[in-house]
Amino acid sequence: MNWRNYRRQTLVTLLLLALWGAFAAASPVSFGSARLYRSFMSTIPVTTILTLGMTLLIVAGEMDMSFPSVSAAAAFVFAWGYARAGFSPWAAFAAALAAGALMGWLNGLLVVVVGVPSIIATIGTQFLWRGLALLLSDGVAIPLAQVRGTSLYQVFTGRLGVWGVPAQALWAAGAAVCLGLLLNRRPFGEALLFIGDNRKTAEVMGIRVPRVRVLAFVLMGFLAAFAGMLATLELNNWWPTQGDGYMLLVFAAVFVGGTSAYGGQGTVYGSFVGSVIIGIIEAGIVSAGLTGFWTRFVHGLVIILSLSGYALFARRR
């Protein structure tokens, strides 16, 4: 084992422990109670799943700015299908995931076939899907109180065991394991790494570059839809601006986790921990007795510190 290859992972783990230590010292009561962790486990999974999908895209040298809208539009498909069109909850759920994958596929086509740079193409589709969701919903929320009793709700956002562990936490952990294997131990993941490193190299290695790039967008769309579904089920509600708050948090989590903005380098583990770091900051600040206004400031501090840390200590050589 060559520990030098794991410097980034070590750094992000230390950062999480330091933050947790600081919060626990500042408010031992809240950070010693199971309630706080249960609440973390109900909210952070949405960020985690989005962060994991974004990590794979950024590793391949692409971006997706449309995921908040894709989440919301896919969840709208569920809400509309279930509450208005009378689909069974599982059928509506499957339709939402398919819609997410389809929107991701369209992003992929715009980028790979039409040739629009991904950051610009997905800013376009970000407006498009949000606009469509607003039009179709007349800009009003769709309450979904009746979903609570369904097996769908139980499977994805129910509370499990004596500790009442939110099911979405297990889904996020499972997604991390699967995507970690996909990135590190499947040819598809290796293709993402080489495409992000140098697209020409990937080509001459016989990697089917266009196909892999499109599939990466499809995967991101699918995961955005899944994250949107977790948020919708958790809150029993769909609302038109859903997902907007995640944009910067997700990018922050990816980069705090040590993924390179240049592509070709990034880890699922780092992003997982990065999403937890970003997720505990707000709660930590509030329970430490500071005002919520500190949240953004501390986010900024953590991002700058971690990125400087990578730049200074974690160079690969």
Partner: protein, 255 residues
């Protein structure tokens, strides 16, 4: 083993928009020879080898590999590799920020029974390859190291070794000595000698005539999208080859 030729290219045409890169290029490669492909920038060398390597598809023409015609509609980089045609590019043969073991096996992974990449086996094979190809230095290197830690000559060596590992029968070297220090060039020429010793066929593209002259058995001169002449090493001196190349350019300008 029926044909004396490893590969025959017949009357290849290729244009990119208004630029015609190949205008009826024909070339036959004998089995086990090192053939140097020479010519000015824009003569069509790189287009020719990219067709051979499966990167580009010609507009017209034929390609016959070991006596069998190739269907260009189904021809790709992975197919070329599967047929034993392997290219070592000047710069982009390796993913610089990826570990050595991934570079050896990307696109052709060793998998375990569950279909996952068997990283442990790939690393072990890479370690063997490094020790074998790069000698003592290679033994000190780890398969986990990134390509950035290798010198230019070592990178070419690894790419050539990778081609030999996968038992390529035709190895194309695209300017393998350009931008290398003298001592590194020497290493690369030794790798070329190894390719010949192993009985493989090799196309060597280079602007550095002295390197090419040492390494090759025959010289194909390209001019304006065609093969203008093919010379045997016995028939031409290094000076003669240089003169021929310069004259070729002048004749073209007069024409």
């Amino acid at each position: 083993m029926t044909s004396p030729y490893a590969v025959e290219l017949r009357d290849l045409w290729k244009s990119f928009g208004a630029v015609s890169a190949l205008r009826g290029a024909s070339l036959a490669l004998k089995k086990g020879e090192v053939l140097a492909l020479l010519g000015d920038n824009g003569a069509g060398k790189s287009t020719l080898i990219k067709i051979l390597a499966g990167v580009h598809r010609p507009d017209r023409g034929e390609m016959i590999v070991d006596g069998r015609p190739v269907d260009f509609r189904a021809y790709s980089v992975s197919q070329a590799r599967a047929m034993g045609i392997e290219t070592v590019y000047q710069e982009r043969s390796l993913g610089e920020r990826q570990p050595l073991w991934r570079n050896v096996f990307a696109g052709r992974p060793l998998k375990n029974r569950l279909g996952f990449i068997d990283a442990r086996r790939e690393k072990a094979e890479t370690m063997k390859l490094l020790a074998d190809v790069l000698g003592l230095k290679g033994a000190g290197l780890h398969a986990d190291a990134s390509v950035l830690t290798l010198s230019g000559g070592e990178r070419q060596g690894l790419a050539i070794a990778r081609a030999m590992y996968f038992d390529a029968s035709i190895i194309i070297l695209d300017e393998p000595t350009t931008a290398l220090a003298v001592s590194e060039v020497e290493k690369v020429l030794q790798f070329v000698a190894r390719i010949r010793k192993a009985g493989k066929t090799c196309i060597f593209i280079s602007h550095e005539l002295p390197h090419v002259y040492r390494a090759a058995d025959r010289f194909a001169l390209m001019e304006r999208g065609r093969i203008a002449a093919v010379l045997e090493k016995n028939d031409v001196t290094l000076d003669g080859l240089m003169r021929r190349l310069m004259m070729g350019g002048e004749n073209d300008e007069l024409a």
